[in-house]
């Protein structure tokens, strides 16, 4: 067994930014474990641009954004172990990892979870029909085209208008495939507005809202799908069903934080986010285990992943240096119209606290009100809000006084 101050699980954008921040906060003994051949995580297959505008003030591709952080990691001499898969973490921070070198046990003083997320698969969507080749999650097709150099098919239907699906609609088109349709079961898209414009509208790819794939056809390779509009309970309306011939169905129907390791370590999971319940320092319910990036909550932009990872990295370092703040914590709660609020609990300190949240459906002009009982801690108005765009609110410094017992974020629609 060996010992390290901080073990970071996952070397994607979250893991790398957390490691860098921990180092800069004063802990040199940081190691990043990643299961892939090189650091970078899913960014390695995201060859499109649009990364880094907020964080680095430059527009980069995914691999470039990853390379920026990989260089920062290298510059500091932070150790990285690739093709190393963490198989367990105990509540007392013993990390077990498997690699071609054998089974390694590492005793950590703090662990940062940065394992990312996975795509919802066909089975979970319960689409009926046959099980031919040609049904891929959008990210798998993206890896095959961008990393392996193979186009999975020539005539494509995409189910789900999440950002990966939108990006892949454009990518497949640019490589010569015909994208016949993008179907979204909801009455609105879950993707970023800019992706709908730049990936669908610019290429005249039709987006069918309130529409789903109701059946998959073909015995060996996919031969086509039945698409149908859905009723208010999201059930296909048979009278609207129509067949679209295609050899490929890409699924972009949501991302699920990958928390199997966290659960096994005893980390409490918030059902709303699918990630750990954390405080504003991104510490989970297990002392010394922190979480950041898409394993904590699914983000829209990698820039915000890096921000969040820095919070976790600094906090983990503070713990190792025995400088972590202590104090009473209070719970947060999403009011009506909000899917979740993160952090799920807040330690009362003098510092301002940023809350991250998502709405349940598109809203017009509205106001977020952060309340403790009847007391208003903060308000923020927005011209619009949509589930696809994460919102950030700030509780100002000094607002969390003794009387505060619970923080509720409410949404008020404005005429």
């Amino acid at each position: 067994m060996i010992a390290h101050d901080i073990v970071v699980v996952g070397g994607g954008p979250a893991g790398m930014a957390a490691a860098v921040a921990a180092y800069d906060r004063g802990v040199n003994d940081v190691v990043i474990l990643d299961r892939e051949e090189t650091m970078g995580g899913i960014l390695r297959q995201c060859v499109h641009n649009g990364f880094g505008l907020h964080k680095l003030g430059r527009e980069l591709t995914g691999p470039e954004y990853a390379a920026h952080y990989a260089a920062e990691v290298k510059k500091r001499g932070i150790r990285t172990l690739s093709e190393t898969m963490v198989t367990s973490i105990t509540p007392d921070l013993l990390v077990t990892a498997t690699s071609t070198r054998g089974i390694q046990k590492i005793q950590a003083r703090a662990v940062i979870l940065a394992m990312g997320c996975r795509e919802r698969a066909r089975g979970a969507l319960n689409i009926c029909g046959t099980r031919p080749a040609g049904v891929y999650s959008a990210g798998t097709a993206q890896k095959l085209v961008n990393c392996e150099g193979y186009l999975v098919g020539k005539r494509v239907v995409i189910l789900g208008s999440g950002d990966i699906g939108l990006i892949m609609a454009r990518r497949m088109t640019l490589e010569g495939a015909k994208v016949a349709a993008v179907c979204e079961i909801l009455p609105y898209s879950g993707g970023l507005k800019r992706n709908i414009v730049q990936c669908l509208e610019d290429y005249h790819i039709p987006l069918y809202l309130s529409t789903t794939v109701s059946e998959i056809h073909g015995n060996e390779r996919l031969e086509g799908v039945t698409i149908a509009q859905v009723d208010e309970n999201r059930r296909p309306k048979p009278e609207t069903a129509r067949f679209i011939p295609c050899d490929t169905l890409l699924l972009s129907c949501g991302l699920i934080p990958e928390n199997e390791l966290s659960r096994a370590a005893g980390v409490a999971i918030d059902r709303r986010t699918g990630g750990a319940a954390v405080d504003q320092f991104r510490q989970t319910s297990v002392p010394g285990i922190y979480a950041c990036g898409n394993v904590l909550q699914v983000h829209d932009l990698v820039d915000y992943v890096s921000d969040e990872a820095e919070i976790a990295g600094r906090a983990a370092a503070a713990r190792v240096l025995e400088e972590a703040p202590t104090g009473e914590t209070v719970e947060t709660e999403p009011g009506s119209g909000l899917r979740y609020v993160l952090p799920q609990r807040v330690m009362k300190t003098e510092e301002p606290v940023d809350l991250f949240l998502r709405v349940t459906r598109p809203f017009g002009k509205l106001k977020f009100v952060v309340k403790a009982g009847e007391r208003v801690l903060a308000t923020a108005s927005r011209p619009v809000a949509s589930p696809g765009e994460m919102e950030r609110l700030r509780i100002p410094a000094g607002a969390l006084t003794d009387g505060v017992e619970k923080i509720v974020v409410e949404l008020e629609e404005e005429a």
Binding site: C128, G129, V145, L151, V152, I256
Partner: protein, 484 residues
């Protein structure tokens, strides 16, 4: 060359028959029309070892089921197939169903099933706390179990091959003729295989094969069954196999853990258009969910990771057809093997060997026959220390390819190299579980394709999901095959 025995079909019946025959000094060849074994009913079924209370006393089903249970447990141990004697329970809701399970109890006693017990609702819930409050009584079947049916088939034919049996895949029989005192079997690719005894174990196609020899007095009626598999996270919702009272359609919707620790629910029972129908339907899956909740209300269908449909090869009358042809010497029919066919497979295979002997086959025990097969999960069962040593000798076992199920590169390569080697993505999945977890191959799919390509020398573009035209890639290489 002429084989002593040619077997049509490598489902569990064909595979197990091959294994039983491999004990003797015989030349045996198994013909399979698909790219892999276990591609029909043996792939998609409930994977249940049935206690033997259900078949009507005096039928072949009753006899084979009761004889088959201990034989199957023994074979599963020898072959290292994942299985568990978890026991079963048949649930009754109300007086009418209570008398139905009483009748099953009596039938079971007549069939010679040991250990059956009738329980009150509360007693049943004590054993299985997730059972519905509305349950009034249950039949407890201690010898019932669960087994991975496709791994059993793979292991049986693999062991038979290790003992000298030949397997020909992608051999779709289009013609069988009597030739001298034997048979000539021709494939759609014009290959001919000759044999003295011909075993018709073609599952859903047994009537089709029988017709080729003008000896068909039965018609297979394909009946579909739809299932849903749930995440291991909810795999312990029940510990036993929970049945409902059987009807003439089938054994009802069951809820059970699988041999690998997932939760399974299904099957529906509906006649389907063809023996190759594999579609799940909205109505079917809804029915599964609704009826599963009747026995076990807490089944969490938000945890479904996949659904599938299988086909039972039934006949009117309902009993197994296990016999020598009256018209064609040397022809053995093993047909209409629907439930409890899996449970009965070893008993049926042994009966087939007896029939072959009756048909004039001379049986001499083979020297050096080995009925065991190395455990494909041996690595996963090691302690961390053992794994560490093993990886130092075999580094590719330290490279985890399938993160959900924890499958290493070494195990995937072994699945391609070990009899009967996997040739496609689904074949690797059935042998290693790579791609069977919650991401359903989203992450490991491209790696698995690359490993199969390396091991078999097949170019990546030609790797299939399940043989035939099921290519994983059909848009070509970037910059070359792309459409302009």
């Amino acid at each position: 060359m002429r084989y002593d025995v040619v077997i049509a079909g490598c489902g569990v019946i064909g595979a197990m028959t091959a294994r039983e025959l491999s004990r003797y000094d015989l030349k045996v060849c198994v013909l399979e029309k698909e790219n892999d074994v276990s591609m029909g009913s043996s792939r998609a079924n409930s994977g249940i070892i049935h206690g033997g209370y259900d078949p009507v006393p005096g039928t072949l089903k009753a006899e084979m089921n009761v004889k088959g249970v201990p034989l199957l447990y023994e074979a599963a141990r020898e072959l290292n197939v994942p299985h568990r004697q978890n026991g079963s329970m048949v649930c009754a809701f109300g007086a009418e169903e209570e008398s139905a399970i009483k009748a099953l109890y009596e039938r079971g006693m007549k069939n010679g099933v040991k250990g059956l017990r009738l329980l009150k609702g509360a007693q049943a819930r004590e054993l299985e706390p997730s059972l519905s409050d509305k349950l009034t009584a249950a039949l407890l079947v201690p010898n019932g179990g669960i087994i991975s049916p496709y791994e059993l088939t793979v292991a049986a034919i693999g062991n038979a091959m290790d003992n000298g049996v030949e397997l020909k895949r992608n051999f779709e029989i289009c013609r069988v003729i009597q030739e001298g005192d034997g048979f000539a079997v021709q494939s759609t690719d014009q290959e001919v295989v000759r044999g003295r005894i011909f075993v018709n174990a073609a599952g859903a196609f047994t009537d089709h094969i029988a017709k080729m020899l003008h000896d068909c007095d039965f018609t297979i009626i394909p009946r579909g069954g739809e299932y849903m598999i749930l995440d291991k996270e909810v795999g312990n919702t029940v510990s036993r196999t929970i049945f409902q009272v059987p009807t003439k359609e089938g054994k009802g919707i069951l809820v059970c853990p699988t041999a690998h620790g997932n939760l399974m629910t299904g099957p529906t029972a509906a006649e389907v258009p063809t023996t190759e129908s594999r579609e799940t339907t909205r109505e079917g899956l809804d029915t599964v969910a609704r009826l599963a909740k009747k026995s076990v209300p807490s089944v969490d269908f938000s945890k479904v990771i996949t659904s599938f449909a299988g086909v039972r090869s039934s006949v009117a009358g309902g009993d197994f057809i296990i016999r020598l042809s009256k018209k064609v010497p040397g022809l053995i029919h093993l047909a209409a093997i629907d439930s409890p066919g899996l449970t009965s497979c070893v008993a049926i295979a042994r009966r087939a060997v007896e029939l072959a002997e009756q048909a004039g086959l001379k049986l001499t025990l083979k020297e050096g026959w080995d009925g065991t097969r190395p455990d494909p999960e041996a690595f996963r069962k090691m302690t961390d220390e053992e794994k560490d040593h093993f990886i130092k000798e075999h580094p590719d076992y330290g490279h985890i390819v399938c993160r959900c199920e924890g499958v290493s590169e070494g195990e995937i390569r072994a699945a391609v190299r070990t009899n009967p080697g996997a040739l496609d993505v689904d074949g690797v999945k059935r042998r290693t579980r790579s791609g069977m977890g919650r991401c359903q191959g989203g992450f490991c799919g491209p790696y698995v394709m690359r490993l199969i390509s390396e091991e078999t020398g097949t170019p990546l573009e030609e790797i299939t999901k399940c043989g035939g035209a099921s290519r994983m890639i059909c848009g070509g290489r970037i910059g070359e095959g792309a459409v302009k």
